[in-house]
Every structure is written in C-alpha cells, then in structure tokens.
Symmetry: C2
Subunit: 327 residues, 2 copies
C-alpha cells in the first residue's frame, strides 16, 4: 500500500494555502486558491473540498490516500472546531470542522493559524526538535504560538499564544485593535515600528536618513528603519533599541514562565536578521532568570509561508490518525 | 485486593511533609519529619525510606499497598530526576530519583516543589478541574507553577514556572537573589511588600498607621500593611496599589500567552483575601486581552500546606502507575 498523505490548510483572508504532506512532514504537492469571501465566507469549505478532489484527480490519486485535514483559521477556535469569530472572513460561530468534514468526508482538526505556524516551525523549521517553543510573528500585526511539552497551547477558550497582546506599555500606550492599549503589537509590528519612528522624528531635530526619506515621501516603513540602522543612522538605532526593549522584555517574561528551548521570530520584520536579533538577545538576557536564559536560543523562522500548511499536517497526524483508522 | 495508595512527599528546607493518598486524591494518613541537613543532606533519602516503612508498620500495611512516590524538591529538576542545585539542602547534582528508588524499592517521580503545589491545587484545590492553570505563591519569596493541557510546565531545564523571577521593574529595580534585579519577588513577596512600605514612608511625610507602628517597632510586616489598608489607611492603600499593579501586570501577560481558566494565589500574603484580590482583579483586567480576561478566574488557594503532598500523589499517579504494573 502506498504511504498515506496528510492535508495541511492555511486559511487566510486573501488566499488559502494547501498541501499534501508526507507523514515525515515533507511537502509532496502544494497549491493555493483565492479566499472566497462572498456571503460571509459561506463557500469556503465547499471550495476547499472541491480543490482537494481536483488535485487528487490531477495526481491520479483517490481519497483513500488521505488521512485527514489539519487547518489553521484566523480566529479563536472552540473545542468543537468551530470558529468563534474571524473578522477577515466574515465568520461568527462558524462550525468549520463539522462542515468541512461533511464536505470532504475526511476527519478534520482545526487550530488557530498562528498556532499551527508555530507547530510547523517546531516540526520542520527553526524550532526543529524543541518540545518547548515560543513563536512570534512580526508582520503587519504581531501573532504568536506557544508549544509546551510538544503540544499547542490552545488555552481555555482558544486564545492561547496571543503574544501580540501582551501589555508592553502599561500607562498611556497606543490603542490596539483588540480594545486594550499598549499591546506589544503597537510597538513591535511593522506598523508599530514605523509609528515609533514617526514619534521619534517629531520629538527631536536630529539629522537622520529617516527624516530625509520622510520629508520626500511622507511615509516610513519598518524596513527603512532597519536599513538606516545598518548604515549607522543614530536615530534609527534608537528606534530599534526601543523595539527590542519591549520585545525582549515580553519574550523574557514569557520565557520566565515557560523555560523554552527555542524562541522563533518570524514574519516580515524578521527579515532584518542580525540587525534585529543582535540587540534583541542583549535585552532578552537582562530580563531573564539566569537558568532560563541558559536554556533558550532565539532564532529566525525558516519555513516562511509554508509554516502553516506543515503545521496543519502535523495537527492532522497527531489528532486524526486514530480517528481515521476507526472510520 | 485493597485499593492502592500513592505516596506524596513535599521536601522543604526545614520539614519533610509526607502522606499516603488514595487514587482519588484523598489524604489517608499524613505526617512530617525534620529535614536532616547534615553532611550536605546526604541522609535525606534514607530518612524518607525508613519513615515510610515505619508508618506502613504502624498502619499494619505492607509495601505492596504503595504504587510509588511523587516528590517535590526545592530546586530545578533534571529529566533523570536529579536535582541540579538545592541551596537549602546543600545538594548539587544530587541523583534524588535514583537514590530514593534504591532506598525504598518503589518507583519515584520528582518535580520542583512549586510545580507540585500547583498540581495539587489543580487536582483537589482552588483550581479543581482546570487543565490550564497559573499558580503563584506569595510568601517570603514568590514561587510559581504552571499547568498547560493538564501537564506541569517543566521547561527545557526544569526552570518552568519561575513566576517570581518575571521582571516587573525593568529599570533600576531592587536586586534579587537570582542575580537579576526588579523581579516580581522584589515587589510582591511579603518581604517585597514591607520593603515597598518602607520606601513609601521615606518618600512622604503623610500621617499613617504604618508610620506610627514603624516608629515604635522599627519593622513592618506585609500583614500590617493589609490590616492598615483595611482600616482605610491611605498610605497603606497606595503600597497595595503598587503591589497589585506589578502582580496584575505580570499575571496578565502570562495569561495573554497561556489563556488559563484559573489563576490561583497562595502563600502567606494570600491570607489578605479580598483586600488583595479586589484591587488585583481590577489591575489584571486592564492588561489582559479581552477574550483571555473572560476565560480567567483569579482565586485564593485552598489546600494550604497540603498542596505539595497532594500534588506529589498526582505525580505518582500520572507517571508511575504503568511503571509499577510492569515491575
């Protein structure tokens, strides 16, 4: 009999990334489709089901080859695999697992998208082998996923791993979309970093490449700040110092609770590499219990956009193999 | 056949608390002995073994009745059940599990003492039923234990749950025994609270019961601060406000990562009850992601000094039952 395949699905607001993946976590075939958001996202499960059938067909395979589907969704996941709310998709109390199982006739496991990206990095990426792992994704926002004893930290109502909403500025912080203020997301996302740079420009008259750029283009990106810092720009360096202070303190305090082996930094901002990692490690160690600091390594994520589908496959492997045999 | 018993052991610097406990977590018989610290604590395992034999004898039982021993030790625990260092006992790289198994001819499971207290509260105390739990013990120091998905957060090198060493004062904090400064322990332990009260007295001339007491006795306890606050003393209230700010922020940020169902506050300081809990809850919610705040309840520990032995018994039940059947 041919070796079975897992299906990993990473459901985003713009595209749905999908892959057939081996039991070892290797991608056999991957593709993506647009996210159909018409009528509050009601067609999404049907589209996933039909594209799986179509790809099996193209590859001359039958559904018997598949163990099940592990899917990451952009919102808090309830224990029955329903999505409490996914603003991007228009979903509210949407029974994703039940509908997708019906549409595909396959067992389905559902998790939050940031959590399965963390699982992907644990299984095949920068966290390889680590059973205790903190993942943080610095993009437009700040996402997170935490692995403890080799398992996803789902939490009591699916909000586990919300690292972006750690409070970094307890007093007079910037308002966050979540309803609080001063969240890590407001100071360590790409958006947060450009905001901090603008604040810094407004508060001094120091000469800076960032200022020159801003006066010409009326906009500043996080990438610009890191590039300027690399070229020795003092104001840019001070902005980055502020970012790594908040990020280092937040990660240190999570690590003081969890004693992780790896801390994986992903997302667009992580492309800054050592310009971010160098000063981040210096701050991190200042706030970390010495034995915890000894045990923890901070690394850049390696799977990029594939983290989600690989994590989804892991989820299918862990949660569905027995279920599938019973069927 | 008679129902089997578990042995819970809570190994402290002054006394060793022990109990025979049913598989349901009920204490059948409990006792304690002094901790024999002579010659770097080398006699401790032998003393534990002999007192177990003696109690079995007194109760007309044989060793067949026992499944195994779960023991909490005051230091980081390695995966082989050895203790990296326990300053109070004089231990360094002490193979506790191996020696105690040899001395008792029973299987042994070892964990950090704060972790098994957390497990005890999860199983039979204030956390009853919660699979996701943060426990913090406010005593002379600040201890902690974290449960995720029903399992102890041990971490990669046994330093999981070190909540007392979360950095609460990132800049110019008080030095902590751990080598860092500004730890939660320096502002939320009984010792920390009296230190904050002394600082507050020195920084103002405000009339206060605390000042009157201090001028007479040259000392201030945490209890005095809570009692004075209960009687409406403004300076005492400001000290407590400072304590709950730091404790609330630290617990909120851990909760933002872990999405726990319960947060259990134990230790001597928790006897302040609502004088602590009321303002703590107000601060906590300010810094917590709304969905996480919805899911989390902050409660006072209920098991007191029995948390450790009950947690030890849980550990024995979870980790040793198969091992014992194999023997």
């Amino acid at each position: 009999m041919d070796a079975k395949w897992l299906v990993g699905v990473d459901l985003g607001g713009t595209t749905i990334k999908m892959a057939f993946i081996s039991l070892n976590g290797d991608i056999i075939y991957s593709w993506e489709i647009d996210t159909d958001k018409r009528e509050s996202g009601r067609y999404i499960p049907t589209r996933i089901a039909s594209t799986i059938d179509q790809k099996l067909n193209e590859l001359n395979q039958t559904k018997n080859r598949l163990i099940g589907i592990g899917i990451g969704a952009p919102g808090p996941v309830n224990v029955d695999g329903s999505i409490e709310v996914a603003v991007n998709l228009g979903w509210r109390k949407f029974p994703l697992q039940a509908i997708l199982e019906r549409e595909t006739s396959l067992p389905v496991a559902v998790e939050n998208d940031a959590n399965i990206a963390a699982i992907g990095e644990m299984w095949k990426g920068a966290g390889k082998g680590a059973k205790n792992l903190i993942c943080v994704t610095l993009g437009t926002g700040v996402g997170g996923g935490i692995i403890v004893n080799g398992e996803i930290v789902h939490g009591v109502n699916g909000a586990g791993g919300e690292i972006g909403h750690i409070t970094s500025v307890p007093r007079n912080g910037s308002p966050c979309n979540c309803g609080k203020s001063g969240c890590l997301e407001t100071v360590a996302s790409a958006t947060g970093i450009s905001r901090l740079a603008l604040e810094k420009l407004a508060s001094t008259n120091d000469i800076s490449k960032i200022r020159d750029y801003y006066e010409k283009h009326q906009t500043i990106s996080a990438k610009l700040v890191f590039d300027a810092a690399n070229e020795g720009d003092e104001l840019a360096k001070r902005v980055i110092q502020q970012v790594v202070y908040h990020l280092g303190l937040a990660l240190a305090n999570l690590a003081n609770g969890l004693n992780p082996e790896k801390i994986v930094i992903g997302g667009g901002v992580s492309k800054a590499g050592d310009t971010l990692l160098g000063p981040l490690k210096e701050e991190f160690v200042l706030y970390t219990f010495p034995r915890v600091a000894q045990g923890a390594e901070i690394v850049i994520a390696t799977l990029g956009n594939n983290a989600g589908v690989i994590g989804g496959a892991w989820l299918a492997k862990e949660r569905l193999i027995n279920k599938s045999e019973v069927k």
